[in-house]
Each structure stands twice: as structure tokens, then as C-alpha cells.
Amino acid sequence: MSPRHVVVLGYGMAGARFADEVRRRDPGAERVTLTVLGAEPHHAYNRVLLSAVVAGSMRADAVRLHDEDWARRHGIDLRLDAEAVRIDRAERAVELADGSRVGYDALVLATGSRPWLPPVEGLTVDGELAEGAVTFRTLDDCERILTAARAGAPVAVLGGGLLGLEAARGLAGRGNLVTVVHPVGHVMERQLDPGAGRVLTRTLGEQGIDFRLGRSAAKYVAGDGLKLDDGSHVDADLVVVSAGVRAETGLAADAGLAVDRGIVVDDALRTSDGRIHALGDCAQHPGTVSGLVQPAWEQAEVLAGLLTGTDTAARYRGTSVVTRLKARGIDLAALGDTSAGTADAGTEVLCLDDPARGRYGKLVLRDDRIAGAILLGLPDAAATITQLYDRGVPAPSDRLALLLGRALPSGAPAAASPADLPASAVVCRCNSVSKGRLVDAWRAGASTVAELASATRASTGCGSCADAVCGIADWLASTA
């Protein structure tokens, strides 16, 4: 039986992951032959790490997902710089810009998304970004940003969402004077409530970032900066546009596939044509939001199971999203439904608002389980709560300890004095010696630490209780 030919349109994070997952299940290419078509000239890279590249902590070549010989080693026909221009569903073929055609048994659309450009006068010239303006989406964008953003130069970031803030923090860390322009009254409004937004803005402000919230850019003048809708001005040698993305659906729509905000797929990641699938940013599944890598990776696993025939029951049911801001010196996690108010019936809400220390915590619980949370400046609480949320297990009843994590003032009393220790307290763990046994030995005549040790073996193991035994001997001597 000859293997089926699967063609992947798009060699970004989703397409690359899908190819990896297929080869994990079918290393010898016995079930599936793979052709991967990438429109860009370079290998797939990890988009999540682009903010680290902008921040300067990672070199551009470190974010590549595959080595040069990845495709050869895995028997994959990888074609770079291969732009698809048409899907011929009747003939089951993809037509490329150079006029060649690639036939398929199954087609996987992993075309991703492209940045959305807000309507700002002067920002685009003939549909292209004007000089001094750049999007924040690709490795090439990063290089453009790093070339243009000389230390000390003013930079404007259009968009106060997750990526915009990561870019802003990275650039501020490199010594740029950064202003974030955001049309909503608080940053990251998709993930945060206004309170959390305020604390985050304040913390970022302390790191040198200015904010113009509730304001839109009206006009861009290269070499000068932005004019905002209230008439104010923002100096900028460089404008970084991070105002959201739109699914890349052109080829799918032209081919007559059902398209809404993205290419519509079901739980088997099928489009309206059963031989064509879609995953990642270009796909629209009711169970998830696009623009994040986690859903794309989970979808890649499901689809690889289906198309290799190794898991025909695999279905994608959506992804519960946890948003983490990757910005040095800031720890922010947001998950689930964070909009619930304290008055909502059947909902338990806890809040902590501590702007002076950059901390904000909000926990939303339903049926004893985490339904949503915002955790800013509470790193270990974020880790614990995320696990509870992902695993759907009941939350511990000590909600305050849960919300604060290690920030909770220790409830343990200061080290108890020998007098206060109960007789049953184990003093020497290596030899299971309790305070009571030491007291008995002392009463039987062992009056020094050495004598106590030889009578009870306390402190003769690892020796770490020697001070405690000494303390008990002193206390006994003082009470004699």
C-alpha cells in the first residue's frame, strides 16, 4: 500500500510542528509522504521567542526550529520560497507562483496570520508600511527593529496588547525611550481587568515606558512621529505596529472554503472540504482563540494522529488559554474568565490590589475550581493556580495562601524555644530522637551534649541537629 501524500501549506510554527508530529508517528514515511511549502526563504522559527530577540537576550539563529538538514533527515520534501497562489480542489493540486503544481491526497493549511494595520494617515504608502514603521511579526521584522532602534532613540509602539508590551519592554531594556499608544482605557484588555491594567501600566512606567491610553494615532510623519486623535504628539524615530493580526484566509476563500474570521474547521480540523484541513492562526475553531502557539501545537498533534491513521479517534476540543507576558522584571499570568465581579451569584472572587509593590491578584472560582485568574507580581502563585486550572482539580480551601503563594507572610511562629517544644517533637530525625527522650536522658545523668549524644544517639547522624541538642542541654541546665 503506497503512502498518502500530504501537502502542508505554510512552514511557520504550526506547519513545522505538524510535520514533526507526523514524523514522530511515522518516522519511516510508510504512512504519509510529506511536502511542506514555505513562502519565506528561511526555515521555520519560534515566533514566541521574537520578543527575546528584540530584547537582545537571544540571537536570531537561536530561534530557528529546525536544522538545515531537518527535511532530508526526515524524508520531507521541503520547499522554501515557494509561494502558493491557488488551490485547485477539483484536481487536488496546489499551484505555485512559479507556475508549477503540487498534487495532494490531503492538504493542510497552515498559512498563519498577518498583522493588522490600523488606519493611520501616512502609515502606509501604496499598501506598504512607510519608512520608519515596522510590524512585529517576523524574524525580518526583528532585524528591522534592531537596526532602526538606536540606543536613546524615541520609539512608539502602536498597540498595548501582549506582543506590543513585550516589544516595548524589550526596547526600553535596550535604552530606547518608548511610548505605547493604545486605543482602549487599559492595556491588555482581552486578558486583564482595569485594576490589573493599572498596576501593570504603573510597573512598566517605572521601567521607563510612557503610555497614551484611550488614544489612537491619527497621523504618522516619518522621522518625526505620531499625531494622536487628541492632537497631542509622540516623538518617534521608529513606530512598531502591534495592533493585532488577521487570519491569512485568501487562498482558502478563493478556493470556496467556508471562511469567517478564519478558515472554519470542525473537531477533526476539517474545512468545508473533507480533504483540506487547517490549523494554527489561519483556522477558526469554536473552542479557542487564535494568535497563540498552544492551540496550534495541540491541533498539530490531533491532525497528525488523524492523517497518519495512528489515532483515528483524535479530536480537537479546544484549548484553555493561559496568557503569560514575557518581559524582564514582570511576572504576569492571566487565564480563564477574569471579568467576573464579586457580586456574581455562584462565583467566588478574591482580589488583591497592591500597586506600590507591583502586585495584583484576582481569583475567580466556580464549584470550588479555578475559573479565571490574573496574577501580577505573584510568580509562584501563578504557577500553582495554572496547574489547578489546567487539571480541573478542586482548589485548596486556604484561598489566601493560594492567591499569595510565597508572598503570604509565614504563619509559622519563630523557632520555638526548647521549653515550648512538645515532648514528642523530633529533634534528631536521623535517629528518631524526640525532645522527651533527651529530657529523660538528662534526668538519668547525661548532662553534656556528648553524653546526651551517646545516651540517645541524637546528633550522631548528619549532625544538623547539634545546635538544637545544645539548646535543649542549655535549657535543661538553666532549669535545674
Binding site: R324, A383, C430, G461
Partner: protein, 699 residues
Amino acid sequence: MTLTAEPTAIATETHCPYCALQCGMSLTSEAGGTPTVTPRRFPANGGGLCQKGWTSPALLGSPARLTSPLVRVDGELRPASWDTALDLVATRLREIRRVHGADAVAVFGGGGLTNEKSYLLGKFARVALGTSQIDYNGRFCMSSAAAAGIKAFGLDRGLPFPLTDLADADVVLLVGANPAETMPPFVQHLTGASSRGGLVVVDPRRTPTAEQANLHLTPAPGTDLALALGILHAVVADGHLNQSYVDRRTTGFGAVWRVVAGYWPEHVERITGVAAADQRRVAGMLARARNAYVLTARGAEQHATGVDTVSAWINLALALGLPGRQGSGYGCLTGQGNGQGGREHGQKADQLPGYRKIADPAAREHVAGVWGVPPESLPGPGRSAYELLDALGTGDGPRALLVFGSNVVVSAPRSAHVAERLSALDFLVTADLVLSETSALADVVLPVTQWAEEDGTMTNLEGRVLLRRKAVDPPESVRTDLQVLSALAQRLGQPAQRFPADAETVFTELRAASAGGPADYSGVSYDRLRAGEALYWPVPDDEHPGTPRMFLDAFAHPDGRARFVPVAHTGPAEPPDEEFPLQATTGRVLQHYQSGAQTRLVAELNDSVPEVYVEVHPDTARRAGLTDGGLASVVSRRGAVTARVRCVGSLRPDVVFLPFHFPGEQRANLLTNPALDPASRMPEFKVCAVRLSTQDGAR
């Protein structure tokens, strides 16, 4: 004034019978009484002993000791003479071999056996029985670290440096290790790091070791591998990669980075539950330390992905430039008394003495030469421990089994199934000190000596060879394992001189058999050990001073470079689900050793911890209708255990813990998952899915 001299008490310098630390102790025996123990200044224990060591002589004169061979007659084990017992064993083994072939007889050894016993047992299997079917309980211990160490460094020695080197480290990262309970005097070597703020412990539980840590990371069970990847990612992202070391001394970093690049700390936080900030903090601590160590133990190793997990931690150590540098390094904390030596001399399915591979023609020729047999007469590799137990009494599996130094009914995973397999055998023989749970099922039980009653060498967790001397006479009618093997071999037609019963004679042969192998003991002699020399293998000749620190100039691969091994996280073999929503992890308590067959018979130890318990978060207990101190039923797909509830507030609410030292219905291994690591064949002891209910199953 009397003229009779006071009876002179003779003190013998020896080592503790339990864990791989092999604490130095002196045994003083006075006529008629139980010998007394005094701790001895020895570098590994610095004069310390834990409760197990202090009480170790209690078992020498214990009424539970076996003092006569036992033979099953009409379903009952009855005393018999040695000749009767040995004749019966030889006759039955011959018969089974004649009818079903040589591989129908299997041998199961232990990591507590001396080097001499491990060696002779392997030889007995390959030469006297001609079977390939031999393996040992070390497979359940550190086999994952051994396999990963060989991949990375070309050779496995648990600690490739003396333990006392740890004292000078700024940072020690302990992964899945609880030495404060498993080898308490070890903890003194950590005080340097902890006083400098650099003791980091990775463990899902807040163990006594974790309580002493400056930073305790609590990954979900089965996610340690991902944590290592996250920390390595942070090392690179924060500019701490030791590029010159990576260039000079290693290969393969590029491929590792392609994987690790996909495990940024926030992603790893979601898998493990360890805060991204803590991952970065550990990366920074390790990178800034003058000297640092990464040490793994069973928590990292006892998984179906154990080898990959250890490889991930070794990758981290290599990226920081730690291995092969004096004062820094990677090491595995071996557990059993002779866990190190026991894995070197041929009781492992795929091995010959000197840590040689049984499939290697040159190794076969060398060892066969020492043994005086044709190389082609040696069988090939056999089944690994769990696979061997699983095959017992099946169509093509062994029909007879000899067990030395192991209590598989308690210590193997899915133990109810293992007991079933044992009962399907035609013939089961054990050599034992006491009637362990496994011996109780045997057809013939042979009573053997214990540590203080015989000479033998042990190789401790540092790769240091130690002489454990005979201090007292064994009870009458008790023989050494070497005597048993020698007598059986002769009854199976072997010449007497091929199976000597004297430990030093066996060791002399072991030296020759190991010569030229990775674990070369040829320069180690009883005389040098008696003279107090500190000999760390390899010791390739009589003048060689031994090798306390390995890899300083080169690693053991042909090109001298260490290998980065690309590994990715896959998670536990049995994830929790609606039916079994919790994860159980198993481990040890200070008072007991391994299956507890010995320590449960020492009153002082057993009184401290007399029965199995289950640690549960108080909220989880309440939801299951359980109360602190009451009884719970812990149920997995493979079995159920009734255990006393201990509510522990520091535990993750989705995790429970049980110690595995207890027999019968209290066996934690009734629950565990025998999913095996593809390379080391290590079972997944450390995580399986369970549910809790009240004892009557009300919930």
C-alpha cells in the same frame, strides 16, 4: 584480684549493611552477646550513623533468622539438610533444563550483594546454567542514570568524584533525591552549599531534605524532564551558556537547543507547576556559582522516561560546563549498598564483568578466557528485570527461578501480578537471611550469611571499592551465598576450582575478568584495601593509585568529548483522569531499607514506622471523606492498598505519597505502573494514577 584475663572485645572495622553510602563503622563482638556498633571516621559518613546503622546488629542474632534450609513438602516449608536441599535444587534444575532448554532456568540478583557474589552469580548463570535469563533489582534502582551516563560520558560511575568534594560547592541541585531520609549522614556534605544559600531541591514533596533547601521546586510528578529543559532554556536565554566548554569538550549542543528552544520557562511552568521565575533563578544560581553540582536520584530515574529525564539534567550540567571539572560535576546518588558494584560485574542481563557488554565479541572472548570456556558457549543478552518476572511460567518464559538478595514480591512494580507469575513457576529457589515475602512462596529456601558474617567488597556510590570484613561467626548451618553457588555449580557438573567459595579467591578472579573493561578492578587487592587505601575504579594495575575524579582530561567516548542528547518531554505513562484523578508517588522512610524484609524485623525501627501510610493534602482527604489517622483505600488500575492517612499541608492537593517497604496488602507496589523505559527497562515507580476512598469504598 583474679588471674583470668577479661575477655577481650575485638573491634572489626567494617561498613554498614544498608545503603550505598556504606558508612564506616566498627563492630565489637563480645562472647555471647549481640555485637555493638560504634561509628567510625570515614570520609563518606564523617563518623555519623543513622538509626538503621546503629541498630544493624540486631538482625544478626534475630530469632527471625533462617538457620536451616527449607524444602516445601505437601505445601509446607519444612527444615531439611543442606545436602537434601542442594540435591533437590540441582536435580530439579537439570530436569527443567533438559525438558525446556537452558533459558527455562532464570536467576534474579540484587544490588545489595557484594562484588564477589554479583560476579559469581553472573558466572553461575552463564556457565553452570548456560542461561541468558539473569537480571537484578538494580534495574529498579539506578539503571536509568547508568544508561544516561553512558550515553553522555561513555561510562557510568554514580559519582565520578569523591563525596567530600561537595563541601566546597556554592550550589548543589538535588533532583528527586531525599538523602535526609535515605542516607542521612550524606547531608553533612550539603551544609557548605546550604550555608552559601545554594542548596536547591527538586521534589514534588516537601521532604526532610527539601525542608533544608534554600530553594525547593515542586514539579508535578513525571514532569522533571520538562523542568530541566526550562532551566536549560533560561541558561541560554540569560546568556549563561558556557560556550568555550561546549565547543571544546562536547558535541551535539545544536540539536539539543532545537528542542530546548521550544521549552521556554513560561511553557515549562504550565507543564510542571514550577514558576518561570524560579527556573530563571536556578539557572542564574548555577551559572554564577564558582563550583556547582547537579545530582539526580530515584525521583528523576524511576520513570518510563527515566533515561531521557537524566539526559536532560546532564545536558544542563554540560551547558554550564560542570562535568569533568574539579570541584563541579554531575552525579547519580546510587541507592542500594552495592548498587554501583552490583551493576558492573555481570548480574545484569546485557553485561559481563568489568562493565562489559555481553554482545561485544571482544568482551566475550576476554571473559570466556578467564572462565576457561569457549566464547560461543556464553549466552547472549536476556530479559530485563520486570520483563523477566513478567515472563515467568508463560509459554516461552522461564519455569524455574533462583533469587539471591532480592524480595521481588514487595519491591517489583505491579506486585500482585509478580506474585502470580512466581506461583506459575515449576520451581522457585531463594537464598535469604529471613523468610521474606518472596521466600515464603519458594519451593526451597537456602539460609545465607549476612554482612558481618562474611568477607566481601562493596563499591560505594563514589565508585570507591571497600572491604567489608567478617566480624562475627554466622549461626551454624548458615552458609555464604558463595558457598551455595559453589556447591550448586559442582552438583551441576562444574569443576570445583571454577566456582571457588572463598571471597578473596573470587575477587582475584574478578580482577582478571574486569581487566581492560570500563570498570577495571585489576589493581584492587584485598591487601591494598586492608592497608586502608582509598581506591576508586578504574584501577588498572597494582601500582595505579585509583581514579577519584574521572573525566578531568577527557570523557570516555573515543573522541574524548561528552555527548549532548536531545530529549523532549512526554509526561507520565498514565496521566490522571476522571476515574483515577490523583497521582501517587512512592518512596522511602528513614527507618526502613528497600522491601523492609530486614528493617521490619528490627524492633526499634519497626516501632518507629510500623505500617504503610499515605500522605494526603488535608483538603483532598476531606473531600474523600478521610480523616487524619484513619484508614484509606488507595486504588489504581492494578490494585488497592489500605493505608493510614497522614494529612500533610505542604503536599500538592493532586498528589499522594506512599512508602513501599511494607508487605502483603500494604504493598505500595500493588499500585505502581510497570510501564518501562525503552532503554533502561526501568519501571515507572514514581507516578501512577489513583483514587482515594474510605476503607469501605463509600466514595
